[in-house]
């Protein structure tokens, strides 16, 4: 992610808009990547409520893909996922593999 130079900043480095951290991508912190396996998902949304980085996209109460721009790869979602019939719907794989 490219950082802003001093000429691009508002005078006094004032923040002009709430929640503009959405423009700061933290996905590069990740060492492990969560992978969503749709057929094992029971749509319980635990991954969504427990995600510290709001990186689980939910549309119309249905779980969508991960937001890899922001996921820091902590693995809470994979651990808390109840899955279907003992099969987890989220797996962690090492980045770059």
């Amino acid at each position: 992610m490219k950082q802003k130079g001093w000429k691009d900043l508002a005078p006094g480095s004032v923040i002009l808009e709430g929640g503009n951290a959405v423009n700061f991508k933290t996905g590069s912190w990740r060492a492990f990547r969560p992978v969503w396996i749709e057929e094992n998902c029971i749509q319980c949304l635990f991954c969504w409520i427990y995600c510290p980085d709001m990186a689980v996209k939910v549309k119309d109460s249905k779980r969508n893909e991960f937001d890899y721009d922001f996921c820091k790869g902590c693995g809470i979602c994979a651990l808390e996922c109840p899955g279907k019939k003992g099969k987890k719907a989220i797996e962690m794989i090492e980045e770059g593999k």
Binding site: G19, N20, I49, Y50, P52, D53, S61, L79
Partner: protein, 310 residues
């Protein structure tokens, strides 16, 4: 209209605490903040004591907050929000504002148990209509894991390192929830992110009560607790099940335990996954484990009795 406390319904709400904040991977605090703001159906103004949450949610030209948010010094988060609340009451009285606004103050355990205690005590005593939320991770994690008065007995921190001289912190933690209850305020509660429904119910209830409210929430910190990044929720769950962190509320002096574990687990289950308690499992430190279990048991018994009293 209030949103039902169902994940499917809540997921339709806008995130008032956005991604892109710079909290560590697997931190408990953003989960706590997210749950509180999801449970809130009113426009809300927040103040934030210096701490992990404050410094990493608003760095340079980025902020993760979509609500009016005031950064305060370490010691005056409660004083700041009580000032804002007084201003709001004054504006309302003069007919310059008719909105129903709620006020929340966030503080870590350092900013609440230690440095901010006087301003918090003052705000509670003056009776401002506000909620103070303490996310308790049990040390000054932001500055490099120094002990606070919320650090549990036997924990290894950088200012009470476990070694030959001392086996970690030799003093037990302070029970702030009870100190707040002693202010005789209308609502005091203790919650954990692992029991999200319980946490959100408590926040909802607090919003409907007029007067000062205090909620103490366990917030695991994998850096300071020396645990894995993925166990914020599982650790807080064990903390609740071992009764190390009992979930209860005190409403107008009446204690109610909101969650009783089916089977009370030994406190060792909570300590084992955490590297900060690693030294307690050495043979010479066994007495600390016994002492810790005794303390947890005594507190739990006390709480059960308090519940029966009314």
């Amino acid at each position: 209209m209030a949103t039902g406390l169902k994940l499917k319904e809540l997921s339709k709400k806008e995130d008032l605490f956005t991604h892109g904040h710079r909290m560590c991977s697997g931190c408990g605090a953003p989960i706590v903040v997210k749950m509180i703001l999801l449970a809130t159906d009113y426009p809300v103004v927040a103040s934030n004591a210096t701490g992990c949450l404050e410094v990493s949610s608003c760095i340079a030209e980025y902020t993760a907050w979509k609500i009016p948010w005031i950064h305060t010094a370490f010691e005056n988060a409660a004083a700041t929000i009580s000032g804002v609340e007084t201003m709001y009451r004054s504006l309302k009285k003069r007919g310059k504002m008719d909105k129903d606004i709620k006020f929340i103050s966030f503080g870590g355990d350092g900013g609440t148990y230690d440095i901010g205690l006087q301003s918090l005590s003052g705000a509670m005593e003056r009776g401002h209509d506000m909620i103070y939320v303490c996310y308790d991770n049990g040390a000054y994690m932001n500055t490099g894991i120094q002990r606070s008065s919320a650090t549990p007995l036997g924990a290894d921190t950088t200012t009470c390192p476990a070694g030959i001289a001392i086996p970690g912190k030799i003093r037990p933690r302070k029970n702030l929830t009870k100190i707040m209850a002693a202010h005789n305020i209308p609502y005091v509660a203790q919650a954990s992110p692992s029991n999200w429904m319980d946490l959100m119910k408590k926040v909802r209830k607090a919003h409907e009560i007029t007067g000062p409210k205090f909620i103490n929430i366990l917030s695991p910190c994998n850096r300071g607790w020396r645990s894995k990044t993925n166990d914020a929720i599982s650790l807080s769950k064990i903390g609740v099940n071992t009764c190390y962190w009992p979930l209860y509320e005190i409403e107008n002096g009446v204690t109610k335990i909101t969650f009783k574990p089916k089977e009370k687990k030994p406190v060792v289950d909570f300590l084992k996954p955490q590297g900060r308690f690693k030294h307690l499992f050495a043979p010479e430190n066994e007495w600390l484990l016994t002492k810790m279990q005794e303390e947890v048991d005594t507190e739990w018994e006390k709480l059960l009795k308090e519940e029966q009293c009314v």
